[in-house]
């Protein structure tokens, strides 16, 4: 049986439904030494901001049960250097390039989007509306449906690139924010970002992160992510890119059955760089075993 793994995030056509999540893959250079980037459905870059950012004071990372907390603080070389030094490398591969953008103010997001729009090899932008480590920026912005609506709408005016809105699940009604992003013209939704968390060293009585709090990722957050994808999928018509603790094909399939049109592997890249490739194979095996030819038939097919 010839399988059809293709899927869409709005105007973005993917050859398969497995991408890699922002912040867990850098700009591709390091992992290219270990795996074939051409096998990926897409690469979502680490956040790019208008100006270079030094990032948070260390320690920036700590391990937690079935997960990890991070407060990297969006360390990145800034949009100019990204375009000059990082994008050309990524552009060699046969995969979709989605650039994650972040900022503290609407104007910053817009300037970054404008600069990126001039590049020919970018397929979409993912708007970081949910970084828990940017106090003045995305996280607060992303909790208010009106602000999300306004930001996406403004961005639509400055760029023709499809926009994925990356939303937080750390609100009581993720569906409200999702609807706001949809109404403003987002192409798709990325769900979910890390969840705010904290860990304390009881010997030193100090927080384990220099930033005090950080973003929780890994299998620990997966059931929350699956639930949010399921809720949002029923509330909007635009496609969802599901993520949160995917370690293998079975996990990816949960998101897909819950309503995600594609998935992104994040923290698992650190644990085992072969995870995205294996996830694709495991999805293929599941399709074969269940005699489903087209991957897209699985989307949202959870029976409740």
């Amino acid at each position: 049986m010839l399988l059809d793994l293709t899927t869409h995030l709005g105007r973005i056509s993917l050859k398969n439904p497995v991408l890699v999540a922002s912040g867990t893959f850098g700009y591709g250079e390091e992992y290219a030494e270990l795996i074939d980037l051409n096998q990926l459905g897409g690469i979502i870059t680490k956040s790019v901001t208008l100006k270079p950012r030094e990032g948070s004071f260390p320690p920036r990372l700590t391990e937690t049960p079935a997960g990890m907390l991070n407060a990297i603080g969006l360390e990145n070389p800034g949009v100019e250097l990204f375009l000059k030094e990082k994008l050309p490398f990524l552009s060699q591969f046969d995969t979709k390039i989605i650039v994650n953008i972040a900022g503290e103010k609407e104007d910053e997001f817009c300037q970054v989007a404008e600069k990126l729009s001039k590049a020919k090899t970018i397929d979409a932008l993912e708007v970081n509306l949910s970084c828990p480590n940017l106090r003045r920026g995305g996280y607060i912005l992303g909790k208010d449906p009106e602000v999300v609506f306004s930001l996406i709408q403004t961005l639509k005016r400055v760029t023709d690139l499809p926009l994925l809105a990356k939303l937080t699940a750390a609100v009581s009604e993720p569906t409200e924010i999702a609807r706001a992003a949809e109404e403003a013209g987002a192409e798709a939704l990325s769900l979910i970002n890390t969840l705010p968390g904290m860990a304390i060293n009881i010997q030193t009585r100090r927080p384990r992160l220099g930033n005090i709090t950080g973003g929780l990722s890994g299998p620990a957050i997966r059931p929350i992510a699956v639930r949010v994808v399921w809720e949002v999928a029923r509330a909007v018509r635009i496609p969802i890119l599901g993520m949160g603790g995917i370690m293998k094909g079975d996990d990816a399939l949960e998101f897909i059955l819950a309503g995600a049109s594609a998935v992104a592997v994040g923290t698992a890249n650190f644990v085992d760089p072969t995870t995205p490739g294996q996830t694709i194979k495991q999805i293929e095996n599941y399709l074969k075993k269940n005699k489903i030819r087209r991957f897209r038939e699985l989307i949202g097919k959870v029976e409740t």
Partner: protein, 263 residues
């Protein structure tokens, strides 16, 4: 940088709560340089989730060795592994020790399990003739039972200076005291120092390096995510901004580090 499954050839306790593991990993062994590390999975499940970094202790033609102290869940699981099992490895990673030119004296300072990469450095330097430098290893532990690979060290053609905190062997006290007491006698010649051990010891070596103007490189450790420079989780404050321990390190020239910012 290679990801491979390494077969465990042996895994045994060599001192109280200290273990040595030998793995069959030809490609990694082939590229390994002293000071570099391997990032390995202690378990196939997610408890603990992240890999653990270990300095390469030895690398021969097809095999690598690591020395590790049982500290937490990851190292406890590692100690339970037996011959024939495989471990997922990523390596060799990071920047190695670099001897510049031919100094008259090369001093290695090891505290506790910090001996791991320095043994590899000593062995490599001695294998690469002609080494015209005088090689001295200062090695400090709590008590003589905590000495790691003492038999092998005695076989190397190096000057060995041992310190034990309880005085059970060699100098009684900390290795830094012993090193400091000899330092002035080295300074009339060209000297390079390489160190690995507790942070306090490394900080002191950094300030001695500044005070007496000799080059020194230290191997640092920090909780790591990816181990290959992607996640930027393991940074320390450098004199010119943040540095990734996994990529710009784990071996740093002491002047690259902002020691006041490190605790």
């Amino acid at each position: 940088m290679i990801q491979s499954k390494g077969e465990i050839l042996f895994n045994q306790e060599v001192a109280p709560s200290c273990w040595k593991m030998q793995l069959l990993a030809p490609e990694i062994a082939n590229q390994a340089q002293p000071g570099q590390f391997v990032h390995l999975r202690c378990t196939e499940n997610y408890s603990p989730l992240l890999r653990r970094p270990f300095s390469l202790h030895r690398a021969s033609e097809r095999k690598i060795e690591i020395l590790y102290q049982i500290i937490g869940q990851g190292t406890r699981l590692l100690a339970e592994k037996v011959q024939g099992e495989t471990v997922d490895l990523l390596g060799p990673l990071g920047r190695a020790f670099q001897v510049k030119g031919q100094p008259e004296i090369i001093v290695l300072v090891a505290g506790g399990v910090g001996i791991a990469p320095l043994y590899f450095l000593a062995e490599t330097l001695l294998k690469k003739p002609p080494l015209n430098s005088k090689l001295i290893l200062f090695y400090g532990v709590k008590s003589k039972e905590n000495l790691l690979g003492y038999g092998d060290l005695k076989k190397l053609r190096i000057n060995l200076e041992i310190a034990t905190e309880d005085g059970s062997l060699g100098f009684e006290g900390e290795i830094l005291q012993l090193f400091q007491s000899r330092l002035l006698s080295f300074l009339s010649q060209s000297l390079q120092v390489f160190a690995c051990g507790p942070l306090g010891m490394l900080k002191n070596i950094a300030s001695l390096s500044l005070k007496y103007n000799f080059p020194a490189q230290v191997s640092l450790e920090k909780t790591m995510g990816c181990g290959i420079g992607v996640c930027r989780g393991c940074v320390i404050k450098g004199s010119q901004g943040y540095l990734r321990v996994c990529k710009e390190g784990p071996v740093f020239p002491v002047e690259d580090i902002d020691w006041a910012a490190i605790s």
